[in-house]
């Protein structure tokens, strides 16, 4: 005699949506900083919560003494398709940065200081990494007013609860 096993009830799952992202920005070059900023802004535009955590040289993006001087890396950057010796010529990084900034302006991507302000106004929350801040001997006074606090990795994970973490 055979017995019919009970079948699990299969119901089509609702398509999942992302409600929150926590984006880590760890690099200090122009091409290292922008992707995270664009992703955070894109999240806010979709009504998704966005936290930004700046660590290591990524902190340059929120340092008032540096965020206007972010440059494209012309050495050690295969994406530039420049021979290393050429990329190392004085002024090359500044030139590449100028060219890229002009292209970005054309498609309405703001310069980094304006972008940080835009993100703050959009309701994205900005945090600085405590380990890096201690290592470089920085304080809140070194950062733009949009930075809410200096937090540890543990606090970062706490704040990221329930969201997606993106490392850039």
């Amino acid at each position: 005699m055979t017995e019919l096993l009970e079948q699990p009830q299969l119901t089509p799952a609702e398509p999942e949506t992302i409600e929150k992202v926590s984006i880590v920005i760890s690099k200090g070059s122009l091409e290292g900083i922008y992707p995270g900023l664009i992703m955070a802004n894109g999240a806010r535009m979709e009504g998704i919560e966005a936290d930004l955590f700046f660590t290591f040289f990524g902190l340059d993006a929120i340092r008032t003494d540096r965020f206007e001087k972010i440059k494209v890396a012309t050495v050690g950057n295969p994406g530039m398709h420049l021979p290393t010796w050429l990329g190392a010529i004085p002024g090359m990084s500044r030139l590449a940065t100028k060219m890229m900034q002009r292209q970005m302006e054309k498609i309405d991507i703001p310069p980094i200081p304006e972008f940080i302000e835009l993100l703050g106004d959009s309701g994205a929350r900005l945090y600085a990494c405590k380990a890096t801040v201690d290592m470089f001997g920085l304080t809140m006074d070194d950062f733009v007013p949009q930075v809410e606090e200096i937090i540890s990795v543990g606090e970062f994970y706490e704040k990221s609860a329930g969201g997606q973490i993106i490392f850039t």
């Binding site: 894109g42 806010r44 309405d108 703001p110 835009l118 106004d121 959009s122 309701g123």
Partner: protein, 105 residues
């Protein structure tokens, strides 16, 4: 693309509910879409944004970026997000009867 009734008017919409033909739009449709998306009543400030989005789209064929919206619509970014918490550009486009903005900014 499907045909649906919004505020008693037959309109063509995409899968997310954006009108595909801006010509089919009217203010009653805007009110109805706003209510359905968590905005009970469109204030003058909402209208300023919706009208700006719509006019810019009709003039250029593309919806403005959030940056342009904040600089040129007369409503600053902070207020844009208060008016349209679920995404100002996207929602204002939907309410204004224009396609979903395609830009990344």
């Amino acid at each position: 693309m499907t045909m649906t009734l919004i505020a008693d008017a037959p309109v063509d919409v995409d899968a997310e509910g954006f009108l595909t033909d801006p010509e089919q739009w009217n203010e009653a449709i805007a009110d109805a879409i706003a209510r359905e998306n968590g905005i009970p009543e469109l204030t003058d400030r909402h209208w300023l944004v919706v009208t700006f989005m719509r006019e810019r789209y009709l003039a250029t064929g593309a919806a403005p970026s959030i940056r342009a919206l904040g600089k040129e619509s007369g409503v600053p970014i902070k207020e844009l997000y208060q008016l349209f918490p679920k995404g100002p550009a996207k929602l204002a486009a939907k309410i204004g009867g224009i396609p979903k903005p395609k830009g990344c900014i």
